[in-house]
Amino acid sequence: MTDVIVTRDLTKTYGSVRALDGLSLTIPKGGVYGVLGPNGAGKSTLFRILLGLIKPTSGSASVMGGHVGDVSAGRRMGSMIETPRYPPYMTARQVLEWLSLAHGLKPDAARVTGWLDRVGLAEAADRRVRGFSVGMLQRLGVAAALITGPELIILDEPTSGMDPPGIQEMRALIRSLADTDGITVVLASHQLLEVQRVCDRVAIMNKGKLVREGLVRDLTASGERLRLSLTPMAPAMALLGDKGSLEGNAVLAAIPRAEGPALLRALIEKGIDIDEARWVGADLESVFMTETGTVQTPEAIHAR
């Protein structure tokens, strides 16, 4: 089996809302795969369908070679969807023991302690989860996803609520799961820098559809741009047309290097003051912004 997740024309509607709209996606085995998208893109809906929590309206999805909802496939994967919650009267250790039993495993004290240690919860192992912070719940959620030895784990916003050192630890853990343990990791995150650092491949979703997919290095290498800090910006955007986009208070021009000098002369002739001009590589954030249509338009700039 080379693909762990395959969806074909997957659609989910809630009344008039199409949370997923004909999504066809293939996630290969191995490595870390990121699923990106703005709020409402359908990421969580996709994960919930893959876990069998909800049924699709149409289309098909398979996980680990079996249909979604197939228990034998379900037992080969772990997951953490949104901020996890647990019975508040249980300790972290008891949560993992309970999930081991649910999976048909005898609770193994060494295994439980090992995973709690690996996610940084060794000292809180015997504390009741009602006193846990959001970050601690996230860590326990990752341990809960891994306690049964899955081949695939699905993580929805694994670093949500964590402080910077915690984010760094989680990033290292996720990478080690793929590199050392051979687990395929599928994660959704809004932390685009983290995704760029951790993931091998990404799929960018918007409004329930897949808009871009590929290796992270290919996506980020495909767009060298001329970054211009200038005022005013509206005439510059009008001059560039669809080759221009905004990044903060700068304009990005998607043009070949050879056209750079001519562009700068044209901008100066129009009376635009240029503070800085330099060539930059594309990062995942700019790819994401472009693909999801969240770049600002010239009309929005006029309004400034």
Binding site: T45, L51, G52, V71, G74, R75, S79, L101, A102
Partner: protein, 302 residues
């Protein structure tokens, strides 16, 4: 995999100490400790009253032995009384609605079939109810023991296989009666996803049925043992079944018979069949409806 579901549910339920205390231990504790205090208080009050009246109890009077077996049978007959039913619903509500409340379905629903997950909960509830009935039995025995100690009466255990069989039968019917309420709690929990509904809907249904039973069915033009009446009121079916198993199924009538009153009549076979049907319907129908609903349910907040 059903065994996995049962083990996991049992593990989790046992660690919910608040629920286990109120649902399983509280009533037996009250019966044992409260019963001892009640017996002691009665003795003290009785002695004071005798002393105030200047009455002396002849030697040997009131010192006949207490039969433990009576306590065991009484416990079996009373095992599904209203108070036990209400407190058992605490366990049922926590067990059946807990995964909705804590959004923990996402942790377990991919690992087992939905049918096994529900069966695991039902089996765990069955074991907890059994444990509760055993504790209740022990509490009633302790009540009898405290009575013997306080009144300085010897204890005995006089019975035969027939009476013990009746006790076992009464206990089994009590278990089923509690499980009937638990099935209503299960259906309410799954349909509404609410712990409060799982707790109060069975209570409300039971209260309405008790009210109907006490009002009598004459205003509907029904007789007590008509099919429609007994299907509507499983409490009547339960009482009929208990009487069929043992005259002690109706403790009040049994006490009157012991005091020389009439022996409660054994229900005819036709009424026993109606009672069994009613009990089966009220156990199976909510369970089947739950499974049908749960199989199609979206287990998410959306």
């Amino acid at each position: 995999m059903l065994a996995d579901a049962i083990r996991a549910e049992g593990y989790r339920l046992v660690r919910n100490r608040t629920t286990m205390f109120w649902g399983v231990i509280f009533i037996p504790l009250v019966v044992a400790i409260g019963g001892a205090l009640f017996n002691w208080f009665n003795k003290v009050q009785g002695d004071r009253a005798m002393a105030a009246a200047g009455v002396e109890i002849p030697a040997g009077m009131g010192r006949e032995s207490l039969n433990f077996a009576d306590g065991v049978i009484a416990a079996s007959a009373l095992g599904a009384n209203g108070v036990v039913l209400v407190f058992s619903l605490i366990v049922a509500a926590a067990l059946y609605a807990g995964d909705y409340r804590w959004e923990t379905w996402r942790l377990i629903s991919a690992r087992n079939s939905r049918l096994n997950l529900i069966l695991g909960k039902v089996a765990s509830m069955g074991l907890v109810v059994l444990a509760g009935l055993i504790l209740f039995q022990i509490a009633m025995v302790l009540f009898g023991l405290s009575q013997a100690v306080v009144t300085q009466r010897p204890l005995g255990f006089e019975t035969d296989a027939g009476r013990m069989g009746e006790a076992a039968g009464l206990a089994a019917v009590a278990w089923l009666r509690i499980m009937q309420y638990a099935m209503l709690s299960l259906l309410a929990a799954v349909v509404t996803r609410s712990l409060l509904a799982a707790l109060f809907i069975p209570f409300a249904v039971g209260f309405a049925q008790s009210l109907l039973q006490s009002l009598g069915l004459g205003f509907l033009g029904w007789e007590a043992m008509d099919w429609q009446a007994i299907l509507l009121m499983p409490g009547v079916a339960f009482d009929t079944f208990k009487l069929a198993i043992s005259p002690e199924g109706n403790p009040l009538a049994a006490a009157m018979a012991q005091a020389g009153g009439p022996t409660p009549p054994v229900p005819p076979r036709e009424e026993v069949i109606k009672a069994a049907t009613s009990m089966a319907v009220w156990t199976v129908v909510p369970f089947v409806a739950t499974i049908a609903w749960f199989q199609r349910q979206d287990l998410s907040k959306e």
